[in-house]
């Protein structure tokens, strides 16, 4: 789990939408560079930038390195393959590029509250209104999803107890089917309850 590290640095205060746009731009640019030596240089520069920004944001180095831990063995294998096939420059490129992007992405996550990021996404959706997207509906769906996760966990625990009493605790089908059916029934009740309260997403 990636925690949020509170702070007042310029990185924290930069609007979440801008951070995401920078990240997308960096990701596109690092893959689009045609020449190997230029790409290596830019990837290393991006890596340096990630380090610099994390220092500015006051994120402990330990936490930044923790972002890379799940990738560590994949990175090692990739670098070895590249070394064997394409030489050390290509290996350096793959490692630096992947590390830079994951660190930059991690930095965005570490310096932005989930609620702010979701809000930014909702605002971003407003641009897609002509295409039929509805930010208010998306907001409702997000809120419901976050509420459903603990409910699902509770129902799963209940059904697991019941199936254990029948000796079916090892059957995934006997566990999942009642959970899904119960959730579907519950969804219909929730939808009816929302409608009964005259919820109208088109008017907010």
């Amino acid at each position: 789990m990636i925690p949020y590290v509170p702070g007042e640095s310029p990185v924290h205060r930069c609007p979440p939408g801008a951070k995401i746009l920078v990240l997308i731009a960096a990701g596109t640019a690092l893959f689009a560079l045609p020449r190997l030596d230029v790409a290596v240089f830019m990837a290393l520069a991006a890596l340096g930038l990630a380090g610099l920004l994390s220092r500015v944001a006051g994120i402990p180095t330990r936490l930044m390195l923790a972002q890379l831990r799940p990738l560590a063995w994949i990175l090692a294998v990739l670098v070895l393959v590249q070394l064997a096939l394409d030489g050390w420059l290509a290996g350096l490129l793959v490692a630096a590029r992947l590390a830079a992007l994951v660190l930059l992405a991690g930095l965005v996550t570490l310096t932005t509250r989930s609620s702010d990021l979701i809000e930014a996404l909702q605002r971003g959706l407003a641009w897609l209104k002509p295409l039929g997207a509805n930010p208010a509906k998306a907001g409702l769906a997000i809120a419901l999803t976050l509420r459903f996760i603990p409910v699902l966990a509770a129902i799963t625990a209940e059904v697991r107890e019941a199936q254990r009493a029948r000796g079916l605790e090892r059957s995934l089908v006997a566990l999942t089917v009642p959970v899904v059916v119960r959730m579907l029934k519950m969804s219909d009740d929730i939808a009816a309850a929302i409608d009964a309260r005259s919820y109208d997403p088109d008017r907010g």
Binding site: M1, I2, Y4, I20, L23, G27, Q67, P70, L71, I74, L78, V81, Q82, D86, A90, V94, L98, L101, V102, A105, G106, V108, T109, T112, S114, L117, I118, L121, N134, K137, A138, L140, A141, I142, L144, T145, L146, F148, I149, V151, L152, A153, T156, L172, V173, T176, V177, V180, V181, M183, L184, K185, S187, D188, I190, A191, I194, D195, Y199, P201
Partner: protein
């Protein structure tokens, strides 16, 4: 989308997240760990249909990108999409939509084999078609190597397809939610 559709979208986004809470199951024979999460893609398409299933997985991917720890093992954040597995994750909404579409198209004539074929097509063939080139691009390996590396997930996918067919059939009998196109 009606209110009921929105609630269904939220439900299947949450279901995919909840499947990530399952401890990864390790196959007894080959020892490949599988997470249940891509089964959420198949179930969303097969039970909620094209529009709602696709929207559910799109919502799930957006929430993961927003940094919520919803992926298996409590991972989350934009790093997931930037990493080698990003292609698979980004294809999930498309896969759920295609599975739902094919289910709705053939709802009246579904057999076990047809269902399995639809799930393999949407949940495996389609996602690998983007996921493998994505690995190749991110990791700068050639396509063949990326494909061989991904083949390790195939036994797990086979198990998930079988489970998804069994679950979708049982749920459809108990609580029909799809409408034929």
């Amino acid at each position: 989308m009606s209110t009921r559709d929105i609630v269904f979208v939220a439900l299947f986004a949450a279901l995919t997240a909840a499947l990530g809470l399952f401890p990864p199951v390790t196959l007894p024979v080959v020892g490949v760990p599988i997470t249940a999460q891509s089964m959420g893609v198949m179930l969303a398409g097969a039970i909620a249909g094209a529009r709602r299933g696709g929207a559910a997985l799109a919502l799930f991917v957006v929430l993961v990108c927003a940094g919520l720890p919803l992926m298996a093992g409590g991972r989350g954040g934009l790093g997931i999409v930037m990493g080698p597995g990003g292609g698979f994750v980004l294809m999930w909404p498309v896969a759920a939509f295609v599975i739902g579409f094919l289910y709705e198209r053939s709802l009246r004539t579904l057999t076990v084999w047809k269902e399995a074929l639809i799930l393999v097509l949407g949940g495996v063939v389609l996602t690998y078609a983007v996921g493998i080139p994505w690995i190749a691009a991110v990791a700068r390996v050639d396509l063949m190597k990326a494909a061989i590396g991904s083949a390790w997930f195939l036994p797990g996918d086979a198990v998930k397809v079988v489970l998804a067919v069994l679950i979708a059939r049982a749920v459809r009998r108990a609580y029909p939610t799809l409408q034929a196109r």
